[in-house]
């Protein structure tokens, strides 16, 4: 069993309530933090090597140190709980079962950053979690961990929960800020970055739920100890939400030293693929990261074992690698059709594009239509190159990363599964009833000497 830092107590009866959480050693991080200097906490987070768990993996301590601190201007901490990426459901689990862990992390982080009003922007569809969080906030407030003069330290902090209205784009930090301000959730043009001009034009830090929860073990054990877990620049533990064709879908907390193969096949985690089917492909970090065929998933192009961490999953760049992303691990077995899978993702991004910049607004719809055509057995060979050209013209040319997120799945599907697309086009009748199967996607990769 690998070490659990976040979910260790998730199954204790009544852990949602303050008294049980407190009895189990909860809120010790707050007590410890309030005796420290805010700058010291930022240093601890820097030392821990914690990286943003929302998808981009930016070092959190560094992000915190960028926060501008002008005199007389309030600063805000915003918790990004707008978890809407297909395949990602780790924050939901964390908030639903351990609401106090997030609240505790938020209090420590708010103190470190000097935020007296902290917001949790939660995905609108997580309606029932709002109640859980609000109850946890009320309990913490009653016990003096929130509100005015917390534990006699002189620090005031209030936490507010704001529900989104069902838009994936509001998970992008500047769109989230716009939405929180009551405006249409369009991403802002950066610079200025939120650390300088964020919520109501004040310096703001936006962090993912898991990132802020991870501040609690960092406080309890110290940054240096936390950094000893994991490997290289992938420190600490990571929540992975595994789904798709596996025996045990669910949320797993992993230490980032395990291999992808172990994660899929060991009984401790996904427990292998059901019905004796074979692994065909996997999207290792949430729907927007590149899909990898089985052979490139388990081993890198250099023939080395691939591990479940930021560096190893990204090994080989986009040509032969993928990304850790938000940890939405989607497994596809030999019965799954890559064209259909890509179409589903393209439809999602088309639906979720905010429509602000032209490449994303028009390009996502166009890609969906072409993929739909190929899926319906009406594709032409030139459509594959056209898709490639469209995604190439979206990527990097938009205001926010949604354009890239829409382009990458299509690009990766064509890059690694081009022959499956061609088979669809060459077999317009057959592709409606049968699928391409495993083909050569699990074959050993020839490693150049």
């Amino acid at each position: 069993m690998s070490k659990k830092l976040l979910l260790e107590k998730a199954h204790i009866e009544g852990i949602r309530h303050f008294d049980v959480y407190r009895r189990e050693g909860g809120y010790a991080a707050v007590e410890k933090a309030l005796k420290m200097e805010p700058g010291g906490i930022v240093e601890e987070v820097k030392k821990s090597g914690l990286r943003g768990r929302g998808g981009a993996g930016f070092p959190s301590g560094m992000k915190w140190s960028f926060l501008a601190k002008p005199e007389g201007v309030p600063r805000y901490l915003v918790c990004n709980a707008d978890e809407s990426e297909p395949g990602t459901f780790k924050d939901r689990y964390l908030m639903e079962f351990l609401p106090h862990l997030l609240i505790e992390g938020l209090i420590v982080s708010s103190f470190a950053l000097g935020s007296n009003r902290t917001y949790i922007y939660i995905r609108g569809e997580y309606a029932w979690i709002v109640g859980i969080l609000e109850q946890a906030i009320a309990e913490a407030k009653q016990q003096g961990f929130l509100g005015k003069n917390i534990l006699g330290s002189g620090f005031d902090c209030e936490i507010y929960v704001q529900r989104g209205a069902g838009a994936y784009i509001c998970g992008e930090e500047t769109a989230l800020i716009e939405s929180l301000e009551g405006k249409r959730g369009n991403p802002r043009i950066k610079p200025p970055f939120p650390a300088i001009k964020g919520l109501w034009d004040c310096p703001t830090v936006v962090n993912n739920v898991e990132t802020l929860a991870a501040v609690v073990p960092i406080m309890n054990m110290g940054g240096e100890e936390y950094a000893k877990i994991g490997i290289g620049r992938s420190t600490g533990t990571k929540l992975i939400s595994a789904c798709g064709n596996i025996n045990k879908p669910g949320v797993y907390e992993i230490d980032m030293t395990i291999s992808v193969e172990e994660f899929i096949y060991s009984d401790e985690y996904c427990g292998g693929i059901p019905n004796g089917k074979k692994l065909k492909a996997c999207i290792p970090g949430g729907s927007s990261v590149p899909i990898l065929p089985a052979n490139l998933l388990l081993k890198t192009a250099k023939g080395e074992t691939r591990y479940m961490n930021y560096e190893s999953l990204a090994d080989g760049g986009f040509a032969t690698g993928s990304m850790m992303g938000s940890g939405g691990f989607i497994v596809l077995d030999e019965d799954q059709c890559i064209v259909k899978n890509t179409l589903t993702l393209a439809r999602f991004y088309r639906h979720e594009s905010c429509g602000q910049c032209s490449p994303c607004r028009e390009g996502t719809g166009w890609m969906e239509k072409i993929l739909h055509k190929i899926d319906a057995g009406k594709g032409e060979m030139s459509d594959i190159d056209l898709l490639w050209d469209i995604q190439r013209k979206i990527e990097g040319n938009t205001i926010c990363p949604l354009g890239d997120a829409a382009a990458w799945p299509v690009a990766a599907a064509i890059r690694h599964f081009r022959d499956e697309f061609e088979w669809h086009i060459n077999n317009p009748e057959l592709c409606l009833t049968k699928n391409y199967g495993l083909a050569h996607y699990a074959d050993e990769i020839h490693v150049p000497a």
């Binding site: 429509g355 910049c357 028009e362 390009g363």
Partner: protein, 365 residues
């Protein structure tokens, strides 16, 4: 005591210019002028917060600044990127920019109806110009173009949502010129549209300016609709004593008749001074105005650009270029219309052709 204004050096397509701090790359390019100016479909210097959306003005920054000479990894929107000292920018000299811009133009035209022959904006449409400069002749899009339910915006302004490219200029205009904005963007993605939430007329006194800022024919003047083609009308500078605006306008005349009133626009197609609805929609008589003289014709448009000036009329006939086949659908217009007369060569007529010209000829064959 005068404060020393800090100037920054920026090089765009190998042309160096000193600009004041706070200038954007696009503004610097406009100071240089000519071909180095990136096209802009959504940016409007008079509207705060505009720009960054259409992505037509993307440029490559090959050197960030003197202090940090690293190039910027992505292409940047020149309208929203501030100049740094020593910055080097590539616009027309960059293949990446050309490629990306062609892509953006294709995206913008993807769902645009291309109904220029019946669109009032034709001739002064920025998308038409952009398509002419950067677009391809054919389209790779083979699906049905998107259409929208019609919304009524009141007696003065016609909304054609299908033509809209979602530049947000009209939204910023309403925000910044009027007291209460009643229209905005509904929905998202490729089904986002300009509308009032519940059918409501736009009736603020300055709301007519949304027609002038619209880069395409999505918002047009109902009082001018289908009255004439822009290139047949003659722009004249005029003014009047107006109690609520500057009263400085351009009249678009045909003969003595005032067909349309718009604000005066500068060389970038941007309004110089906003005008009120009364000046724009109500004052359609020459006697309402003090005429200053002919307006300088801004030859930004495709139609007035004279691209066809030196073309040679092809000697081949249709059947020659079509491998001996004769086109089925072409017919002699004179067999169905009594308006034109083949005896009159329109290119030889001095000035616009009027009905008076045809009245002289015998229509009965």
């Amino acid at each position: 005591m005068t404060e020393a204004v800090k100037t920054l050096k920026v090089t765009i397509d190998n042309i160096t210019i000193d600009v004041p701090a706070g200038t954007t790359v696009l503004q610097a390019a406009r100071m240089i002028g000519g071909d180095v100016v990136p096209p802009a479909m959504c940016y409007y210097s008079k509207l705060q917060g505009s720009g960054g959306k259409c992505r037509t003005c993307l440029v490559e920054v090959s050197k960030g600044s003197e202090a940090d000479p690293r190039p910027m990894p992505k292409l940047v929107a020149s309208c929203r990127t501030g100049v740094m000292d020593g910055m080097e920018v590539k616009n027309m000299t960059s293949n990446r920019v050309g490629d990306a811009r062609n892509g953006v133009v294709e995206f913008l035209l993807l769902n645009h109806p291309l109904d220029c022959p019946v669109c009032d904006q034709a001739g002064e449409c920025h998308l038409q110009d952009l398509g002419y400069e950067h677009g391809k002749q054919g389209t790779r899009y083979e699906f049905k173009r998107r259409t929208f339910e019609k919304h009524d915006l009141g007696p003065y302004i016609q909304l054609h949502m299908t033509r809209c490219i979602l530049c947000y200029r009209c939204v910023f205009t309403a925000d910044q010129l009027t007291e209460k904005r009643v229209h905005g963007i509904l929905s998202r993605g490729d089904h986002a549209e300009i509308a009032t939430y519940i059918e409501k007329s736009l009736d603020n006194n300055f709301i007519g300016n949304v027609i002038d800022v619209c880069p395409v024919g999505a918002l047009t003047d109902k009082t001018f609709r289908f009255k004439n083609r822009v290139w047949f009308t003659k722009p004249v500078l005029a003014h009047r004593n107006c109690s609520c605006c500057s009263g400085k306008v351009t009249l678009w005349q045909r003969g003595e008749e005032v067909l349309r009133v718009t604000a005066r626009k500068d060389q970038w197609g941007e309004v110089e001074e906003w005008i009120c609805n009364e000046c724009r929609f109500e004052k359609k008589k020459t006697s309402d105005w003090i005429i200053e003289g002919a307006a300088p014709v801004n030859r930004h448009s495709v139609i007035s650009q004279g691209h066809y000036e030196h073309t040679i009329k092809p000697a081949e006939t249709f059947s020659a270029v079509m491998d001996g086949r004769n086109p089925q659908l072409l017919m002699d217009i004179h067999t169905v219309s009594e308006v034109n007369d083949p005896a009159i060569d329109l290119s030889q007529v001095n000035g616009p052709a009027t009905s008076a010209l045809y009245a002289k000829t015998d229509k009965k064959h």
